[in-house]
């Protein structure tokens, strides 16, 4: 048996009290593709960052080609032939592909960009990339940028490539292209570690699968000898049918009309294009789409945080039946109209909460303005904090703990707890279970269902299609800022949604 290209033995890494990786083992041979599988927050990226020299392990050993090594920096990682392609690209927009590739290289002799471009072409040809070395980064699509990142690593002679969720930003067609390239690299003897949490991709590309769960090493299985069910079980601990409850909407009435809204962002890109839908009371409306298809902007537009180019947003007051136009109103103006709109934004600590403030002061965000006194009143918020902590079982030393000290699930409970305490008539939640463990996720689903039963119009932006299909009454699919379909959640089909999510980019490009 040949020596593996890279072996990790008992790697452990902690951040404060959080154990991100505990005794992880991993081994990759030459010409092998290993998939690193795990839920959000299971420690995949941390582990890879240690191989790439970004973090330093607290314990454990790394072997390259059989000899033990110490990787102290990304530069050190390069010397061992390790290259990582990060989820967020690190490219200079104004430079061409070749210039980005050459950046930071200290080669002897005269700098010749034409020669770099030629070598980029060679690499492209060898592995089947499709790239113009002279094209500027800002003119490139996401998949082209990713290609540049991969070439950058290959150009530096990497033999071990790490790809951190490379398919998260790609359409299915682009993913197929990437996989073809990866297979060519494998034939060439490269070792590849690919991080993903899409099971069908794992099954189609990898030779072996390493599964992590909550920072711990669960095991390694041969891809040929496993299936989705087994991998899911390894990933989540026990086999779970989602079984999210879904009640029939009662006395459903139109609550919010969104009609033909358009929005252009700072870069001049149309992020919302003629969006029209209706949110109804006592119903959960799911929004599906690849990340960055306009979900964030849509919710922010309704919440009064975006200046729209056109269209209207009309709220129907449940008590009076009166219609209010919310378009281009500020959050304060919307509240003053008597619209009880709650919003759980995607960025919990950067938008929904203040990380350095304690739970009480975070509860106060929504209510501090009440009353004419110049002083804040902390009694109400303190009671609310205690109530949220006990009702939602928030794990915290107490209500005066800064929320940034809490775990992701508890942070989310604090945020959702505050938002539903305002007795909303419309509740918007963007990726409310992202990074949460199964139990916390279910707690959040239950809260949303409870709001639905109370007659709230719930808008739920999700990423897991299984959850959307089991939880939502209707599912709106966004693609590149357009609505590509609104389906009934009870008979929606996963592949149908997947198709709608990618239709626009497939059709237009």
């Amino acid at each position: 048996m040949s020596t593996p290209a890279i072996v990790l033995k008992n790697i452990t890494k902690t951040f404060g009290q959080i154990v991100a990786n505990k005794n992880i083992n991993l081994s990759v041979d030459r010409g092998e593709i290993v998939a690193l599988l795990g839920e959000n927050g299971s420690g995949k990226t941390t582990l890879m960052n240690m191989i790439a020299g970004i973090y330093f392990p607290d314990e454990g050993q790394i072997f390259i080609d059989g000899s033990e090594v110490v990787i102290k920096s990304p530069k050190g990682a390069f010397r061992y032939g390790i290259g990582m392609i990060h989820q967020h690209f690190k490219l200079v927009d104004l430079f061409s592909a070749a210039e980005n590739v050459a950046l930071g290289l200290k080669e002897k002799g005269k700098f010749d960009i034409k020669e770099v471009a030629e070598r980029v072409r060679q690499i492209s040809g060898r592995y089947g990339f499709d790239i113009d070395p002279n094209k500027k980064i800002y003119e490139m699509s996401v998949s082209e940028k990713q290609t540049v990142e991969i070439i950058k690593v290959l150009y530096r002679g990497a033999n071990i490539l790490i790809l951190d969720e490379p398919t998260a930003v790609l359409t299915p067609q682009e993913t197929q292209k990437l996989f073809a390239v990866l297979r060519n690299m494998k034939k060439d003897g490269k070792s590849i570690i690919i991080i993903t949490h899409k099971l069908h991709e794992v099954l189609s590309i990898s030779d072996n699968v390493v599964v992590l769960r909550k920072g711990e090493y669960v095991g390694t299985v041969k891809t040929a000898e496993t299936d989705e069910a087994q991998l899911t079980e390894m990933m989540v601990g026990k086999k779970i049918a989602l079984n999210i409850e879904r009640s029939e909407p009662e006395e459903s009435a139109d609550r919010l009309f969104v009609r033909g809204i358009d929005l252009t962002n700072h870069d001049g890109v149309k992020v919302l294009d003629d969006i029209t839908f209706t949110a109804r009371s006592g119903e959960i409306l799911g929004i599906a789409g690849i990340a960055g298809s306009g979900q964030k902007e849509l919710l922010e537009a309704i919440a009064g945080l975006q200046k729209l180019d056109g269209g209207e947003i009309v709220y129907v007051n449940p008590a009076s039946g009166q219609e209010e136009d919310l378009r281009n109103k500020t959050p304060i103006q919307i509240r003053e109209l008597g619209v009880r709109l709650s919003f759980v934004p995607e960025d919990r600590l950067g938008m929904g909460l203040v990380g350095n403030m304690d739970i009480i002061d975070n509860m106060m965000l929504r209510s501090y303005k009440k009353g004419r006194s110049v002083f804040v009143e902390r009694k109400g918020p303190r009671e609310l904090a205690d109530k949220v902590i006990s009702d939602l079982e928030v794990v915290t030393p107490g209500p005066t703990t800064p929320v940034r000290r809490l775990s992701g699930g508890n942070v989310q409970k604090v945020l959702v707890g505050r938002e539903i305490a305002a007795a909303p008539t419309v509740l918007m939640a963007a990726y409310p279970v992202r990074g949460l463990d199964i139990n916390s996720s279910y707690a959040i689903y239950n809260l949303l269902n409870e709001q639905k039963r109370k007659g709230v119009a719930v808008i739920f932006v999700g990423e897991d299609l299984d959850v959307l299909i089991e939880l939502c009454d209707r599912i709106l699919v966004l693609c590149a800022g357009r609505v590509t379909g609104i389906l009934n959640g009870r008979d929606a089909d996963k592949s149908e949604i997947g198709l709608l999510m990618t239709r626009q980019s497939g059709g237009n490009d």
Partner: protein, 392 residues
């Protein structure tokens, strides 16, 4: 690509601490201060060949006066009747009031480096009132002059602070550069006005209204009657006003809606927008308050202490105040301690320099060493160093 030869594993690495026990944090700070004293004693010893204890005694006496063992009066009586103690309190209060002034802006993460200019311009407005209203009607209406001086100083401080704030709110200009440049304008304006007011061309403005004492904060007689130093009466007003302002600022930041809003803006503009706080309004309102306090500081320095103006009216406190506020983590009550620390060191260091025939820079070196240790120890409070241990 051949792997390089064996690289030695770093023997230590840095790990972020979870919440630290208060006593541990206190211990680390105590160690830092002890280390700072040791290092600065060593520096002094090298420079002066005098024992560190001798130097420390000088530092102490610079703030608390010489203790006379043979006197029949007790320790506290000696301190309170000493001139140096009251002079130290006066300096402390002036530094403290400017630190209070920069605090709300810094808490909002608005990097106001213009306290110097705001104090100077406030002081200049104050002196102008004092200078022009110095005779006739005003001799019998001294209280009115004082009120006008306060109003002028406050208005001046506010104008100087709000101009950069408006630009920041409207065009998102960089407030650090803007406020720094405003300092230079204020300094030049003061020089210019001194030349206008002092036609002899000496460029030094003498004490204004020496005989009439118009626009001077009144001297209190009771501190002396109570057996305090004669200096106490000069500084009494300043000290009381600053202590009141400290309490006001503490309450403002912790219990008022304004204070809450500016904390939210400082922590995250996104959150502020999300919750519907008008960020521009908060920036401007906070800088009005900040400028107002700088104006008050300018007034106190002019009316309570100097009775004149120079370009050095603020004594460099405009920048030192920022350190005071940071060290105290923007808690006004803690700022009393941190400004004491800075003033104590500052006075001690300049006394040592004078006694031993060095110039002021020695003082700066010592103060620098100590601040370095105090700020540096924050690293050990947030992180710990772990010895790398290996297995297998």
């Amino acid at each position: 690509m051949s792997a390089p030869k064996k690289i030695h594993e770093p023997p230590f690495h840095i790990v972020k601490r979870p919440a630290i026990a208060p006593w541990k944090a206190l211990l680390i700070r105590a160690i830092a201060i002890a280390a700072a004293l040791a290092v600065s004693s060593l520096v002094l010893f090298v420079l002066t060949k005098k024992s560190p204890f001798e130097a420390m005694r000088l530092v102490y006496e610079a703030s608390f006066g010489v203790f006379n063992k043979n006197s029949d009066r007790g320790f506290f009586a000696q301190v309170f009747t000493g001139r140096r103690f009251w002079a130290m309190l006066q300096d402390l209060c002036m530094l403290l009031v400017i630190a209070l002034a920069v605090t709300p802006a810094f808490k909002m993460k608005y990097w106001n480096l213009g306290a110097q200019g705001q104090v100077l311009f406030g002081g200049l407005c104050s002196v102008a009132v004092m200078f022009y209203l110095s005779s006739g009607y005003w001799e019998t209406h001294k209280a009115l002059v004082l009120l006008l001086m306060i109003a002028a100083a406050v208005a001046g401080g506010i104008v100087w602070a709000v101009i950069p704030a408006l630009f920041k709110a409207r065009w998102n200009t960089n407030e650090s550069l803007f406020t720094l440049m405003m300092n230079y304008i204020a300094i030049q304006l003061v020089s210019c006005m001194i030349n206008v007011w002092v036609p002899t061309g000496s460029s030094v403005m003498g004490v204004v209204n020496q005989n009439t004492q118009i626009g001077w904060l009144p001297n209190m007689t009771f501190p002396e009657a109570w057996g305090m130093s004669p200096s106490a009466k000069n500084y009494f007003f300043n000290i009381v006003i600053v202590l009141v302002l400290t309490a006001v600022m503490f309450v403002y930041l912790r219990y008022s809606k304004h204070g809450y809003e500016l904390s939210v803006v400082g922590e995250s503009v996104n959150t502020a927008n999300y919750i519907g706080i008008n960020v521009k309004k908060v920036i401007i309102r906070t800088l009005v308050f900040s400028g107002l306090l700088c104006g008050v500081a300018g007034f106190l320095l002019v009316s309570g202490t100097d009775h004149s103006i120079t370009t050095g009216l603020d004594r460099g406190y405009g920048f030192t105040a920022i350190i005071v506020a940071w060290l105290a983590k923007f808690n006004p009550l803690t700022m009393i301690l941190t400004s004491f620390l800075i003033i104590f060191l500052d006075r001690g260091a300049s006394d040592i320099a004078m006694n031993m025939g060095f110039n002021e820079s020695v003082g700066d070196i010592i103060t620098g060493i100590i601040i370095f240790f105090i700020i540096g120890c924050e690293f050990f409070i947030n992180y710990r160093i772990v010895k790398t241990h290996r297995e297998g």
